[in-house]
């Protein structure tokens, strides 16, 4: 067992980026499920928020997939994660609109924390990777900043309600 946060190999970096892809796919798939579950009966503000979150997740996923491909690894298909989300959704679905917002807040906060830890783990390592280290860090820092904005957006909507 390794104690401490460091990313030391291409393989480990690719695996962590795959986890990032899965987290983004979970956001997209759960958002789609929320729409289905609420049967289109959404407050326009929440609907816009979820739509924006799903679009942003798709963009983040594409950025991560580019890095994963450069590391000569495979990504994780959206269809597979969507199927898993659907299978477990019944056990974890929000009860109401406030629950949907809270779920979305968890998504954004979790993603922010994940990218923050990953950036720290890469910065804490002096290993070299077959992809440009600064390119990886730039991409992750940009995504992290957008996740931070996402947390603020959801919090603002929650406070207005």
């Amino acid at each position: 067992m390794s104690v401490g946060q460091r990313v030391t190999s291409d393989h480990q970096l690719a695996r962590l980026l795959q986890i990032g892809v899965v987290l983004e796919e979970v956001v997209e798939a759960r958002s789609t499920q929320h729409h289905r579950e609420m049967d289109g009966d959404f407050d326009p503000e929440i609907a816009a928020l979820l739509e924006h979150a799903a679009e942003e997740s798709a963009e983040h996923r594409e950025q991560l997939e580019t890095l994963i491909a450069e590391l000569d690894a495979e990504s994780v298909s959206y269809d597979e994660i969507e199927t898993l989300v659907e299978a477990q959704y019944g056990k974890t679905k929000p009860e109401d609109f406030d629950g949907v917002l809270y779920d979305q807040l968890c998504n954004e906060e979790t993603a922010y924390k994940f990218y923050d830890d990953l950036i720290e783990a890469i910065e804490g390592s002096d290993s070299s990777f077959s992809v440009d280290r600064e390119q990886v860090l730039d991409t992750l820092r940009t995504i992290r900043a957008e996740e931070a904005e996402g947390v603020e957006e959801v919090t603002a909507v929650m406070e207005r309600r």
């Binding site: 104690v3 986890i19 979970v26 477990q88 979790t110 994940f114 990953l118």
Partner: protein, 145 residues
Amino acid sequence: MNTADQYLKAIYLVQEMEDGPASTGSIADALDVSPASANEMIGKLEKRGLAEHEKNKGVSLTDEGIVDAREALSNYCIIERFLANVLEVEEFRVEARSLEAVIDDTVAERLDTIIDRASECPDCFDAETDACKYLAEVESESPAD
């Protein structure tokens, strides 16, 4: 998972295997750290009321320490299950160990929304095989490459 949680989980599993207090040496071996590092962290856990260290006997978790250790073990189980079932990683034990320090509790909770975990988790975790017994069962049923 932070360093303290990794220690709590290791002490919990060593206690289970040794059926009593965990020796500092076993804890250090489980975490692949020096006995001096292990002693230092055990001292910190004692100060936080999570563990008790009796000279010549070993380390035991307090009730509060057990709660935290079981939480950490559940999160570790989520990481193993995610790697084995979603990403289909054969060496899921090795990878879970290398990733656990970078995977925060909140991330584990999100990953938990797409895996099918037994309700008795983490009691299903087998310290000897370092995996959930259900994962180990599936593994032993699979033909070797």
